[in-house]
Symmetry: none
Subunit: 179 residues, 4 copies
């Protein structure tokens, strides 16, 4: 059901992905779907949270708090791009979801918890005066959001994403946030 949901949303869009179609894609009856999920909302939100957990796992792989902060962030940045290139469908799902009305139904705290390690690193960076002491929303707007913007360009438009491009982009992100 998870896979069917993601696949369909990526093929025909969020709004057009009806319960019956998702059930059809999954090879089950719509009625069966309601055994596992309370309703459509539950299905979509659960799928979103699952992917986010998935992403968090991926970006923290080989996470080593003892490295210099710049290296940690750089690794997270690269892991993120790597994940998106391996799972463009999962990524696109989250992008669509995050801008839909369903977004309001997600427990933001739960999502943030997944990313706790890297957030803690940012906080340490501020304390150690390595990273600019600005509001967290502004910080993430410069080191996480550009990833999404760039990846979206790659998924939707004709933009080619090379290793060098990613390196350059990270350098810019680092320039933005470092003291």
């Amino acid at each position: 059901m998870f896979e069917a949901t993601v696949k369909l949303v990526n093929e025909i869009g969020f709004a057009a992905s009806s319960v019956s179609k998702i059930a059809g894609e999954a090879g089950i009856s719509p009625a069966t779907l309601y055994i596992y999920y309370k309703n459509k909302e539950d299905l979509l939100v659960s799928t979103y949270v699952e992917i986010k957990r998935n992403i968090a796992g991926a970006v923290h792989e080989g996470f080593d708090e003892t490295l210099p902060i710049r290296d940690i962030l750089r690794r997270v940045w690269f892991r993120m791009f790597d994940y998106i290139s391996r799972h463009p469908d999962y990524f696109q799902y989250t992008e669509q979801f995050a801008h839909s009305p369903y977004q309001a139904l997600v427990d933001k705290g739960e999502i943030e918890a997944f990313f706790e390690p890297v957030i803690r690193v940012l906080r340490r960076g501020i304390e150690q005066k390595i990273i600019k002491n600005v509001d967290f929303h502004i910080l993430t707007a410069f080191i996480f959001h550009p990833i999404l913007a760039i990846s979206n360009a790659r998924v939707c438009l004709d933009f080619e994403l090379t290793e060098k491009n990613i390196e350059t982009a990270f350098a810019m992100a680092w320039d933005a946030v470092r003291l």
Copy 2:
């Protein structure tokens, strides 16, 4: 109809905004709506393009190409935040639209043309070795996208957006793109 569309999309979301509901909000019959717009798609896309034109007009107000590039971008940056704070609903509409399947139906060239002056400035900045010579998608990911991320935080969450915050954020954006 324009106002009704924006209002409803902001209140109940993109997917739930049916033609009848929009017509109801506008105080007209659904049939009447179809005199002015070819279909739902046309209504939504037209509304989007209209807002984008609107935004482009706002950010270019008092545009002065003779100023230093940093000052030009700073002005655009502030004008953008100003516009969003005056028209959070218009902004939110574009954010929702840009991540919906309708997004694919927009003539990207037309939209880009609206922002031609500022884009030309960026290009000049690269030529004059004031701005990093990187792909345009990457550049915009650092000087325009963070505005959206930050504004979204303001609209959706509890984030307060002060003059000083904006100034700080711009400094970061500039750090990211300047040579």
Copy 3:
């Protein structure tokens, strides 16, 4: 308006031919159409009656009551095929109309009056014991209806209608009705 109605009905069918589309085809406003016709029904029925009058005029061209009855009917038969091959659209309109619910709204007497001369000939043929003395519905079922069936085959299917075919068919019709 007459031409537009016929043309559209032949292109998109009877049911799909809306008043607005007919007006559009005629290059006028739907409102204007209502100046000349009471309503849609009036438009369609009038068009039908007009064509029927047209057909009656055509089949009676060069009508000569003094000829032998077989020759008269043969001439009518050929004139009918000639008309249909010159105006397949008019013919098709009548066929569609005659099997639609609108058919009930036509003054059958008025239509029959158009064909009075040839009907009178049939009646004379019965009196002179040249034609079988059977109910008129049966008679027309054999000398007029086959024309429609054959013409329909030509219009809808791949059937080629040669001079010789028509001659043969008339011989069969005559065999059916003559004493």
Copy 4:
């Protein structure tokens, strides 16, 4: 659903028979109808094909290829009138359908296959020089189409159809096609 479709089409005509009305007549929800039929077209075409199969079954009842050709055709002819008098509504449905735009969507081959036995008899009649050697479209225009014309007169107008009338009409049809 089958019965409801036929009944409604006969009562209010083909064009006015909407899916909701048919569903209403059948005592079910429009949505339910779509479980059994792909769409309106499917419903109408299926109903037509079903009736045609039905008719073919009826006219071939007691079909005996060893009888003289005239007797075979006479039996088919009478069986056809019998069917129509027992199911005037089914017959009327096919007449309306055959002149509607939906007609184009039917697999003509499938329908013809239902009537294969009697068609084979006609072919044999031609080979044995009992029936005129003319195009099949012309042949059927004289032995099958008049049935429809006569029956239509009975259904729509005031024409009374007696056993003697039918016998006379068949004699005429036979006169038309026999050598």
